[in-house]
């Protein structure tokens, strides 16, 4: 009896040797990260360069950034299953995989980041419902479960797994109720993306981060959700493009990319407009009421006013305007530039909302606080990248991730 091949039918994959060589290289980086991770778990957070002024640092930024970038998953789910943009079915599998990687990475980084990892479950068990971090923990874990559920049917479509009758039916039935999971995912994402923004926005002791509230939610709550929905798709497009370059194949029809990019563009434009209003209100009303001028927050050589320009104009309005114009997004150079700028923009926003918050001195007799991550922090932050590459490589090789691949790359 011939065994069913592991690789999906009708598509071409590289040789085992080539694949093993690539995986070997990535695994080496992964092992470096895992070594650093165990070093931190064994010896404690003294392995980092964080200090009492910089209690939140590289890891929290990495967490916020990967979750924002993983936002492509919930937003594409929202557009496909709830709004009914059927074209996006051709990229949603990949968006889900990227989301799965981002969210599992975020959970791993959080597990490394806490001083008492064995007590991590306290955040659920002894939950303080008033804390934004509690909301983050719950929604993050629940949404990770949803992403896993969204990923499973795709895994079950591997030809060898699909031979098992139960798994075949399960994949089919899970697809059948996917809209319910997607809707739950959107609900959970709205709250955890938002509460991640709330993490900084509620800090009324930190005037750089603090924002006015709507009911219990500071403006950053809505801005974070919005920016994740806006820039997450850009990251999905970027990773799809990179996968196409590496595999030297067109995997998703350009019309699908353009549609996704157009929606993302309008989200970015509206987001960055709201962000501009927020920044103006904060600079002209909130901060002065606490005795600060805008320039007090940008008086360090590292954290200067240029950052605000880069975030709002260069990595906000510019990519937004490119993506909403047909000629902009249909030119591949401009499209990719816009996508990269948007990804940098949202990552920079998260950096500023974590690290600059810590750096700003609150007393005139204190100086700006500085911080440079240790190699252990860098290695554990690179770890998810290596892990992500491995998951994407395995998924691409063994699963029918791209529904249009066969049509775009016919095998004679």
């Amino acid at each position: 009896m011939n065994e069913t091949p592991l690789i999906p039918a009708g598509v071409k994959r590289c040789s085992k040797w080539q694949f093993s060589l690539w995986m070997g290289a990535v695994t080496a980086v992964l092992i470096w990260g895992i070594y650093a991770m165990f070093l931190i778990w064994y010896k404690g957070l003294n392995q980092t360069n964080m200090n009492d002024a910089y209690g939140f640092a590289l890891w929290i930024w990495a967490d916020l950034a990967v979750i924002a970038l993983g936002g492509g998953a919930f937003f594409s789910g929202f557009l496909t299953y709830i709004i009914g943009k059927d074209d996006l079915k051709n990229i949603i599998n990949f968006a889900v995989i990227i989301g799965f990687i981002c969210y599992s990475s975020a959970l791993l980084i959080l597990a490394i980041d806490i001083g008492q990892p064995l007590r991590g479950w306290f955040i659920f068990w002894h939950a303080n419902v008033h804390s934004m971090l509690t909301e983050v923990a719950f929604c993050l874990s629940c949404y990770f479960a949803v992403l896993t559920i969204e990923f499973i049917p795709l895994i079950l479509e591997n030809p060898r797994l699909a031979k098992k009758p139960f798994l075949h039916h399960l994949s089919h039935n899970m697809h059948g109720v996917m809209a319910v999971f997607a809707a739950t995912g959107v609900f959970l994402s709205f709250f955890h993306q938002g509460s991640l923004g709330g993490v900084a926005g509620v800090l009324y002791g930190r005037p750089f981060a603090y924002r006015e509230h709507v009911f219990i939610w500071p403006w950053t709550f809505f801005l974070f959700t919005w920016s994740a929905a806006a820039c997450g798709p850009c990251f999905t497009i970027l990773v799809t493009w990179m996968t196409e370059k590496i595999t030297r194949k067109k995997l998703v029809k350009q019309e699908v990319i353009w549609l996704f990019a157009k929606i993302s563009g309008w989200m970015i434009i509206t987001y960055i407009t709201a962000k501009t209003i927020d920044t103006l209100y904060w600079a002209l009303v909130t901060a002065p009421s606490k005795g600060f001028t805008l320039m007090d927050f940008y008086s360090s050589p590292t954290y200067n006013i240029g950052l605000l320009f880069i975030e709002i104009v260069l990595c906000g309005f510019v990519p937004g305007l490119i993506l909403i114009t047909r000629r902009g997004r249909e030119n591949s150079f401009f499209l990719m530039s816009a996508v990269i700028l948007a990804v940098i923009g949202v990552s920079l926003n998260r950096w500023v909302m974590v690290l600059q918050v810590m750096a700003v001195p609150l007393f005139s007799f204190n100086d700006w606080y500085t911080y440079m991550p240790s190699w252990q922090e860098v290695a554990t932050t690179v770890l998810p990248v290596a892990y992500g590459l491995i998951v994407i490589s395995l998924a691409y090789r063994y699963l029918p991730v791209f529904p249009q691949e066969q049509e775009l790359n016919p095998i004679d």
């Binding site: 068990w125 939950a127 419902v129 509690t134 629940c142 109720v177």
Partner: protein
């Protein structure tokens, strides 16, 4: 997280927060249960059909 944890209070914050949480978890649980149970039933009916053909 549960009413038997000592910091639990039957106040508005807990109702809203935990209400949302348990609601989301129930939907996820119900969806999964549905998919699994239906797959088992599908598999059985498929088997019966197969037997019927022979």
């Amino acid at each position: 997280m549960f009413p038997f944890c000592f910091e639990w209070a039957w106040d508005m914050s807990h109702m809203v927060f935990m209400g949302g949480l348990w609601y989301a978890l129930s939907i996820i649980g119900a969806g999964l249960t549905f998919a699994i149970v239906k797959s088992i039933m599908d598999m059985k009916s498929h088997d019966e059909k197969d037997h019927g053909h022979h």
